[in-house]
C-alpha cells in the first residue's frame, strides 16, 4: 500500500532524490506480532529533578526485555532505537537544558524508525508561572523535534495529568504505544494521561482478549482495518455498515470470526440494534464510531442535503447512540470516535465535514466524564491523509501534495488509525479520557 513516490524515493534512485532535495519519505515500520518493540537500545535521559522518575521508567522498560541505557555512549556501528526524555520533575524552564541537549547529541545515532518520547507533566491550573512554562514548553519541543527527525522516526510525548504516576498503568501503556511500531504514523503529539483504575495483568500481545467490540462503517477502508486489528488483539467484533454495503461487510465479518450487522447508524433504534447484536456475545465493551461520509462543496454551493447528511452520519448518530447506550446502563464502555485533521485545521470545500469532525472532538471531551461515571472512556482519533478508497478519489495532484504535507512526507495506512484506536480502547489506556489523538504523520497545520 506504500504510495508510488515513497517506493520510488526508496528505490535505486534514493541518492538522486536526496541530492535534488526532494521529499524523502521513509518506509515506515509497522507492528507485526512477535517483532521487537523498538529497533534498537533505548536511552533514558532526564533532568536532575526527574531522576527518580527516570529510574522508574527504566525499571518498566527493562521489564519488557528492552536494552535500556542511561548514558549516550554507543559501541561502534550501534544506533539507538529510542530515547525517552523524562522531564516530570522540571520546575523551571532553565532546568531542562542539559537533558534536552543530551538528546540532541544522539539524534545522528538514532536508527531509522526510531522514537523520541518525552514524559512530562501537563500544565495545570494553579501552577506557578515558571512551572507552567517548563511544562508547556515540552509541547513546542516535541512538535519541532517531530519536524526535524528523519527516516521514519517520530517524536511524541506522554503528558501526565491529575497526579498520575510515571509508572502508572496508563502512563506505561501510552509510553509503550509511542515506542512501538503501532504508532508509526503518530508524530509530534502529546497525549494527556490521567490515573488509571485498571489493575490486573496486561497481555501486551492480546490487549483486547475477551472484549466485544462494535465497529461502525466496517465494510471497507479504515473500518475494516479497525475490525481486523481488534480481532488480532483478541476482541470479538460486531461489524456494522449500511445494508447496501452488506456483501463487503459479511466478508469482513467472516475474515475476523465476527458478526455482521447491517444497520444505518442514523436510524432511531440504531443503539438498540447494536446492543441486541453485542449482548449475546457478552458486550459491548468497545464502541468505535467510524462510520462517516464526505459530501464536499464550497459553502456557497452547499445544498441542505449535503450539509445535513454529513452532520447526521458523522456527528448526530454518535450523539444519539452514546446517549442511548448510557441510558440503557451499559457499563465500562470504551468509546473511540473518528474525528479528522479537517476538523482541526479546516479544509476548503469541507465546511460540513469539518463541522462534524470538530463536533466529534467537542462531544468526545464532553462525553468523557459521563462515560467515566459508568467506568468507561470516550476518546477520538483524528486521521490525517490516509490511503483509502475514499482518498483515492481525490484528484492525483491534490492527493500527491496532501501526502507530502506531513513531517513523515507520506499518507498513512488504515492500520495506523486502527492501532491508535485499539490502544485507546484497551484496558491499560483507561487513564486516557476525553482526548483526541492525531494520527496524521504530523500534518503541518493545526494544533
Amino acid at each position: 500500500m506504500t504510495d508510488s513516490y515513497t517506493r520510488f524515493a526508496n528505490g535505486g534512485l534514493k541518492p538522486l532524490v536526496k541530492k535534488l532535495g526532494l521529499p524523502q519519505p521513509a518506509i515506515l515500520r509497522r507492528h507485526k506480532p512477535g517483532s521487537p518493540l523498538t529497533v534498537g537500545p533505548v536511552l533514558v535521559v532526564s533532568d536532575d529533578a526527574s531522576a527518580a522518575d527516570a529510574d522508574a521508567v527504566t525499571t518498566v522498560l527493562t521489564s519488557w526485555d528492552l536494552d535500556v541505557r542511561r548514558s549516550p555512549e554507543l559501541a561502534e556501528g550501534e544506533r539507538f532505537g529510542a530515547v525517552v526524555l523524562v522531564l516530570t520533575g522540571a520546575e523551571h524552564p532553565q532546568d531542562v537544558s542539559a537533558a534536552v541537549l543530551t538528546v540532541g547529541g544522539i539524534l545522528r545515532r538514532l536508527a531509522g524508525n526510531g522514537r523520541v518520547v518525552t514524559v512530562s507533566r501537563a500544565p495545570a491550573a494553579g501552577d506557578a508561572p515558571a512551572l507552567a512554562a517548563a511544562r508547556a514548553g515540552v509541547e513546542g519541543f516535541v512538535r519541532s523535534l517531530g519536524k526535524e527527525l528523519r527516516g521514519g522516526s517520530t517524536a511524541n510525548g506522554v503528558q501526565l495529568a491529575d497526579g498520575a504516576a510515571v509508572d502508572s498503568v496508563s502512563a506505561v501503556a501510552t509510553l509503550r504505544f509511542f515506542l512501538s511500531a503501532k504508532s508509526a504514523y503518530v508524530d509530534g503529539q502529546l497525549l494527556p494521561v490521567g490515573p488509571s483504575t485498571f489493575s490486573g495483568d496486561i497481555d501486551w500481545d492480546r490487549p483486547l482478549a475477551g472484549k466485544v467490540a462494535v465497529v461502525t462503517g466496517a465494510a471497507r477502508g479504515i473500518g475494516a482495518a479497525i475490525a481486523r486489528t481488534m480481532a488480532r488483539d483478541g476482541a470479538k467484533v460486531v461489524v456494522v455498515d449500511v445494508p447496501p454495503a452488506g456483501e463487503a461487510l459479511s466478508a469482513v465479518a467472516n475474515s475476523v470470526n465476527g458478526v455482521a450487522l447491517q444497520l444505518d447508524v442514523t436510524a432511531e433504534d440504531a443503539a438498540d440494534k447494536i446492543l441486541a447484536a453485542a449482548k449475546p456475545l457478552g458486550g459491548p465493551d468497545i464502541l468505535v464510531h467510524n462510520a462517516g461520509i464526505t459530501r464536499d462543496k464550497l459553502l456557497a454551493n452547499m445544498k441542505a442535503d449535503r450539509w445535513d447528511s454529513v452532520i447526521a452520519v458523522n456527528l448526530a448518530s454518535q450523539l444519539r447512540i452514546n446517549a442511548r447506550l448510557l441510558e440503557r446502563g451499559v457499563e465500562g464502555l470504551r468509546i473511540v470516535s473518528l474525528a479528522s485533521t479537517s476538523g482541526i485545521a479546516g479544509n476548503k470545500g469541507q465546511t460540513n465535514y469539518a463541522y462534524s469532525k470538530a463536533g466529534v472532538i467537542g462531544h468526545t471531551a464532553a462525553t468523557a466524564p459521563l462515560v467515566a461515571a459508568a467506568g468507561g472512556t470516550a476518546n477520538a482519533v483524528a486521521p490525517g491523509f490516509i490511503e483509502t478508497e475514499m482518498t483515492a478519489r481525490i484528484p492525483f495532484a491534490t492527493r500527491s501534495v496532501a501526502r507530502m504535507l506531513p513531517s513523515l512526507a507520506q499518507g498513512g495506512e488504515p492500520v495506523d488509525i486502527a492501532e491508535a484506536i485499539c490502544f485507546l480502547a484497551s484496558d491499560p489506556a483507561s487513564g486516557v479520557n476525553g482526548q483526541t489523538l492525531r494520527v496524521c504523520g504530523q500534518h503541518l497545520v493545526g494544533k
Binding site: 470479538k236 445494508p243 447496501p244 454495503a245 452488506g246 456483501e247 461487510l249 459479511s250 466478508a251 465479518a253 467472516n254 470470526n257 465476527g258 458478526v259 455482521a260 450487522l261 447491517q262 444497520l263 444505518d264 436510524a267 449482548k279 449475546p280 456475545l281
Partner: protein
Amino acid sequence: MASSIPTTREAVIIGGNRIPFSRAGKKYVRTSNQDMFTAALEGLVARFGLQNELLGEVVGGAVLKNSRDFNLIRESVLGSSLAPATPAYDLQQACGTGLEAAIAVTNKIKLGQIESAVAGGTDTISDAPIAVGDKLRRALLQASHARGTGDRVKALLPVLGHPKWLAPETPDTGEPRTGLSMGEHQAITTAKWGITREAQDEIALKSHQNLYRAWEEGFFDDLVTPFRGLSRDDNLRGDTSAEKLATLKPVFGRGLTGEDGSPLPATMTAGNSTPLTDGASTVLFGSRDWAEERDLPVLAKFVDAETAGVDFVHGHEGLLMAPVAAVPRLLTRNGLTLEDIDFFEIHEAFAATVLTTLAAWEDEDYCRDELGLAGAFGKVDRDKLNVNGSSLAAGHPFAATGGRILATAAKLVHAKAAETGTPARALISVCAAGGLGVTALVESA
C-alpha cells in the same frame, strides 16, 4: 397421514439470509448456482457468527442444475466459512425444494439426530444447463466407449448427416407429461374458476406495494445480504400501478375455449405471473438448546408440514392445486382452522394460483367432493395474505423461494407475538411442478 403428532422436541428458526433476487439475464449473468448459494450461506454465517461452526447438516438444492453441480450444497459448504466437517446433501422437489429441505432438517432436529442445520435453495436461469439432444448424446457416448479411432469415427459419422442434432436443448418450464407450460396449465385452472384479470392484477399490485414497503421499512436489513452490486430485488416495481398492469398483454391462456366452444378471455400477463429469476436463500434452524447455548435469537418454531400431489395429467385437477389439498390436512392435524392463522404466505407462482387456491377453500362443493371435508374449508383474510410481498414482486428463483418465505414468516410471527404478547402463526404454501404442493406451519417461539 398421521392422525396425531408424536411428541418430539422443537425445531426453531433462528434467522435467514438470502441474496437479492435478480431477473434472469441481469445482474447474475456470470454467476453459478454454487456462487449464489455460497454467498447466501456466507451472509448467514456472518450474521450469526457461525465461522468454523460444525453444523448438523446443510440441505438444499436447485431445480435447474448443471452436471457439475452433482454435489452442489456440499461444494458450497466447502467454499464457505463453516467448518468443513459440516455434512450436506442435495435435494430437489421442483419449486418445493427449499421448503422440503426445511422439512427434512427440522425433522432430524425434532428427532434429536442433529442439533443445528441450514436449509435453502438456489436457482439460476442465467446459468442454466444447456444439453445436447438425445441422438447426439448417444453418438458422443458411443464414440467415447469406442475402441480405436476407426470405431470412434464410425460412431460420430451419423452426426455429420444430421446437423439438426447439434441444436442445443434448453430447459423450459413445460410439464414433461402434458407438454404444456406451467402458465398454460394455470390458465386452464384460472378459467375454470373464473378468476378475472382485475383480481389477478390486484394481487400483483399488492405484492409490489407490500414488498416495496417492507424494503423501505428495513424489514430485509437482517434477511438479505447484497450480492454482485445488487442490494434489492430488481424485479420489484415500487411505482407500478393498476393502470400500468392493465396495459400488459396476456401471455398465457390465449386460445382457451369454454364448453360450448366459445373463446375464453386470456387474463394472465407478464405482470401477474412471476418472472424467471436468479437467486439463493438460506434459513438457520436449531434445537432450542442449541440456539440458547449460543445466545442466538429464536424467532419461531417450525411446527409441522404437509405435502400433497394432484392428478393434473388426466385433467382432473389443476397443476398448481396440490397445496389446496395439503393445507386442510396440515391444519386439521394441528387442531387449527384458517381463523387461527395470522399470516398467510401463499407463493405467487401466478396471481391466479393464489386466487384459485383461495376460491377452492371457499367452495363448499369442491371442499366436500375433492377434499373430503364437511363443507367449505374457509376464507382467508386478505389483510393477512403475503403482507410483505411475495414472488410476483420479489421474483421466483425456484428452489430459493421456500427459504425466502420461511425467513419472512418467522420474522413476522416473532414481531407480532412480541407486539401482542400472544402466539402468532404463519401458514406457508408452495405449489410446484409435477402437481406437487408443499405446506408448512410456523409459530412464534
